[in-house]
Symmetry: C2
Subunit: 190 residues, 2 copies
Amino acid sequence: MTELEQYIQSYFGVVLPDELQTISSLFKLTTIKKGEYFLKASRRCDKLSFIQSGLLRIFVDTDNREVTQWISTKGYFVTDLSSFVFEKPARWNIQALIDSELYTINIADYKKIGNMVPKWHQLEKLFIASCFATLEDRIFSHLSMTAEERYSFFFENNKELFNQVPLQYIASMLGMTPETFSRIRKKKLL
Amino acid sequence: MTELEQYIQSYFGVVLPDELQTISSLFKLTTIKKGEYFLKASRRCDKLSFIQSGLLRIFVDTDNREVTQWISTKGYFVTDLSSFVFEKPARWNIQALIDSELYTINIADYKKIGNMVPKWHQLEKLFIASCFATLEDRIFSHLSMTAEERYSFFFENNKELFNQVPLQYIASMLGMTPETFSRIRKKKLL
DNA sequence: TGATATTCTTGATTTTTGTCAAGACCAAAG
DNA sequence: CTTTGGTCTTGACAAAAATCAAGAATATCA
């Protein structure tokens, strides 16, 4: 079983081996270079990718500044979900932070899965529900934690990210300025 | 078409009238009195309800204080999604803020829908995806807006809530203290 | 109605976080 | 190696928000 198949199975729990193979065969290996855009806001996001290697940053341009919504890492999927699912303009920009390898499926092929695998929509539902729960937790962290607590929590669970991406992006996705981030960091090292 | 059916249609887009009727017939009208719990954290949430009238508050107990995650209003569904979908212990408490009328379906009946309505899992997926997008926006508001901006935005879209529920709950779900909330409020009235 | 909760407001103060500006550090490119 | 551009850190200060405490307003209920 390929790495992609293992991940699909872990997220979606597809059972029959031939179904799994059918699904994974629709994903094509593509590469994206550091700095290139996987998606630009206001365009349609017509693809879903699994990150085989690399890092992608999801962000929005506002009047004053860029707001990083999330950084996607190896072993996770990346797309603008509402654009992909509802076929409407994307709200996020998605850009490669380093050269990355992606297994990519386009919307047309993606729709085929629903026809070929009877249980697919159900599995999809479960997957999206778990994404929903993750966001609930993230909201909770903003309602109940200080910047420092959010930093510590994220650091404990994503140590490896801290020496791979510009820290200002992590600061932004945790909802603080780079300066505050830097000061918390210093405090933790003492 | 009943009000419940109209809402189901608007959220899930079920097309065939008999399917719609089949689904809605599985929801039973129940009532819950002010202060009563729809759900207690750590129990299983084995039901999904549509709010015909009333208000329910979703919250968590932390060491220091209660954190209100959300207030559900007329015309919306209420449940602990991850508990309902994955049949695991609930993370949230859900309590009626005023006497409320709910159309409630239990998990056993809910599962029947999937068998009776072929497209159901697909529609469910779309519904949950739209919930996901709503949470994305909410996270964005915490990454990019001040307490005052979050207040204004929420106020503009939920004016009616402000004279129906204790304001401290709204303050909490917007991620600020009651005092800060009160001061912003005063400032806006001047 | 009057008594009792609870909720809301307000002021004084502290803490946290943001802003602005300067300089240090570091990696990539000539 | 040196330059350059981006990133990170630091300091001084300002603004935002939290905390604590008291009192006012409001709802609840006997």
